[in-house]
Subunit: 500 residues, 2 copies
């Protein structure tokens, strides 16, 4: 084809917020997912897979009062003009699945699902337009035992990944308690609610005096920046503080657990129903996990857990790594929660009109992987590559392939060099592939019925050896000849040297 | 919320051509993919993952001379008005990746990738709009040793999945041979070429006399249906037949292998370059695989392999299961190829203008899974479910959860029943979950410090027992009490009875 006829060449690039994943990262991730799967299966969850594409209306992603999908999801029209979207989480497809198959499912229905989701949002540091979620949900169980169980599952999952006791904590709160607090202090305005939530969310980072300012007129930090407050009056703030003491009582389990009478004293006009109900839930969760051997070092009630204000309807929980984590430049970072979840009863209602209780947990796969790497729980290093059989005589490709095949038959990763380059480039290739050793057979070796084995790992250390005798000894170990029929044995010997 | 305020409820359904995958199918598929992965890794291939979304131009999926994407791909505009598409295979993203990272990649570059692809096509039986592919490609290797290796890889993969020698065959052909045949018989019209290809494709099903009719004026089958022919004249057909004899010589390896002199006799005016080159390639592939121990029962040259007329530029190959396969109704079906691939040199050229040789292989995951199931190589049965701890006293949820937890800590899948229903429904639930046994503790058992274990597998056989003594003995084995602290031991005993 002449240059003139060629079409304009596209640029090889990915759209923003989308990324390729290389071998070492993929292997680490697959390893992590396999371990998570074992824990989820141990709790009786069954795998489910749903397609990436769903009807936009089934995902509940039309803009309010409009025939246009929410801009946050990737959408396109089917050939019958109906709107389709890429799933933006694994919960909406679960809702569709449960509503569609309700009659035949075991109830409660426990399923886990792992897979990519897509968000048509502005990407940023740590924010992608495609990322992987790992979810477990129990549908059709109204008992808080189901929520308690997911907290245990979160703890077990982190420990299965090597995170030790003391390096993580699962924190539980209840949406009902938060609602009850708002009601008790007389707040109904949505923005003011959000403002109070945000202030309470700071409880695990700030002193009470600072949170008090955030609940009131606002707070100026050391740098002089001013954060506007929730504008509660002093009486309201006093009530919040009193409620927190009740909370503390809930935390001091099990003998000193929460008493409704205490609440009655704190709130003179009588505490709202939701507050009592929420605190009772937390008490039950607390007792359940305690009875199964989960101490406060692993799972604890914590007022600072706020999470999805509108979405959740009962207990909410999140797990975070408590060991300080640093970024690549050594600067400490707040990783945020690596597992999170809660109860939501609107799941199937959207389709059937009937409330179906459900509770679920979701793992942010990339964030958790990043956390595990910085904690040294997962090797970030690339794994050892295959043995490479070099090609010295291009007419003897079949012989070289046969050597590679003999190694593979002995369960050794091995490949024939398939490029066109000479010896030096082939050695460079083997280095790049992180090969433990190469197999060499030129005319001379062939004549003697031998192959040369070159140990690349040992070879790389030679330059640092000062002592002559030692050098010669190591050099002899790093490259040596064996009879052709001892190839597999000899390679096995080299691999055994560098077993990690 | 009152009924009036509720929005119209969406119907819970999936768009056509898209499907959910249940636990047993998912487990079987994951098992299969893991085995394939081991073989691909053994050959030195490294995993890569690319996102589902790519620029439409990078996928090469704009309609010719238009700014509109091909309708066969799902496409949508990004917020900067550029067209994005869901990948329709794993090869186009590989091309983009290689072009983007060419400088830093080891060359040749071996990668495998597994993941879903999307086709915006009319779905039909066995044709879906989302399906999984498992690909391996070697980029930057012009040697046919790379093609030969992929044939070996295909054979090894099938054997790793339990397909025995004689139950499958890998067939190799070359696009160059097909081109050469066309040139030798003087065909340049695209439609006539296609028609000849289709006729040759029938060689493994039809007698030569029938293929001859298809190459000529056409063929009427037993039912009276007429298939139009390729309209070759008798001289052209004679040449095709003569070329086929040369082919046969290639197949009778290794001593009687193809000789250019034979070709010269067949085609008086001298055979076209591509024909000689193609047959030489096939001879080399044949020698290579033979030297690595792959006989004609596993890999063989076969004229009937046609595959993607426009796409491939050299060797093409496909593996099929040769054991007769029947569908659910017992009717024999032609499954088609389960692994297929070939050489294509236009991969990176689209981006850089430079030809980069590449060869690859692709597994149709669903089709292969279906084939393996019908051959009995993969269990289609659902796996055993978790042990279910029943809830007889709702105030003792924490105790029951503790029992489930003790089982899990002993690596036994176990769950607490989380629904609201009574004993009978709980037993039904356990049946539906395929639980091997349930754990029961009511007030009486609690009083005696005992738990009841009910073996559901054994229990299901009781009704068929005629002999009274035998019945009573088995009944006693199927449900029995043990001290609380012997729970794990007792459940382990039941599981051991039904180990599959």
């Amino acid at each position: 084809m002449s240059k003139k006829d060629e079409p304009v060449r596209p640029e090889a690039r990915l759209p923003k917020g989308l990324f390729d994943t290389q071998a070492s990262e993929l292997r680490a991730c697959a390893d992590m997912l396999a371990k998570i799967r074992v824990v989820f299966e141990a709790y009786g969850f069954e795998p489910l897979d749903t397609p990436a594409i769903e009807y936009t209306d089934a995902l509940g992603k039309f803009l309010p009062d409009q025939d246009r999908p929410n801009e946050g999801v990737f959408s396109f029209k089917d050939d019958d003009d109906q709107w389709l979207s890429l799933r933006y989480d694994l919960t909406a497809p679960l809702a569709r699945y449960v509503a569609e198959n309700y009659q035949t499912l075991p109830k409660p229905f426990r399923r886990y699902q792992v897979g990519p989701v897509w968000r048509n949002e502005k990407p940023g540091p740590g924010r992608f337009r495609q990322f992987t979620q790992f979810d477990a949900d129990t549908v059709g169980a109204s008992s808080v035992a189901a929520d308690a169980e997911l907290c245990m599952l979160a703890a077990d999952t982190l420990e299965a990944l090597g995170v030790e006791r003391g390096q993580y904590v699962v924190k539980v709160n209840s949406r009902k308690v938060l609602d009850g607090v708002m009601e008790a202090i007389g707040i109904s305005d949505r923005n003011q609610k959000l403002s109070v939530m945000r202030s309470l969310d700071k409880l695990d980072k700030f002193e009470w005096s600072d949170v008090e300012r955030l609940l009131g007129p606002g707070r100026r930090d050391e740098s002089g920046d001013f954060t506007p407050g929730a504008n509660l009056d002093p009486v309201q703030i006093k009530k919040v503080r009193a409620l927190m003491d009740v909370w503390e009582a809930v935390r001091l389990r099990p003998s000193n657990a929460f008493q409704v009478e205490v609440l009655n004293k704190v709130i003179e006009e009588g505490p709202p129903e939701s507050l009592i109900s929420g605190l009772t839930e937390l008490k039950t969760i607390d007792e359940t996990v305690y009875s199964s051997g989960y101490g406060q070092d692993r799972i604890r009630v914590d007022l600072s857990v706020v999470r999805g204000l509108e979405y959740y309807t009962g207990p909410v929980f999140e797990a975070e790594l408590t060991t300080p984590i640093k970024d690549e430049r050594g600067i400490p970072i707040r990783l945020g929660s690596v597992v999170s979840g809660g109860r939501y009863d609107g799941l199937v209602e959207r389709f059937t009109g009937e409330k179906v209780p459900a509770t679920g947990v979701s793992i942010g796969v990339s964030r958790l992987l990043y956390g595990l790497k910085t904690l040294g729980k997962i090797s970030a290093e690339a794994t050892q590559g295959p043995v490479v059989v070099l090609v010295l005589d291009r007419d003897r490709m079949a012989d070289y392939q046969n050597m590679a095949q003999r190694l593979r038959e002995a369960n050794i990763r091995a490949e024939l060099y398939l490029g066109e380059s000479g010896m030096k480039a082939q050695m460079k290739y083997a280095d790049k592939r992180r090969s433990p050793c190469v197999v060499i057979q030129g005319g001379d070796e062939k004549g003697r019925g031998e192959v040369q084995i070159k140990d690349l790992v040992l070879g790389a250390t030679l330059t640092s050896i000062k002592d002559r005798d030692d050098y010669l000894k190591k050099q002899a170990e790093a490259q040596f000849a064996v009879p052709e029929d001892k190839l597999v044995e000899a390679v096995r010997g080299v691999l055994a040297r560098h077993k990690s």
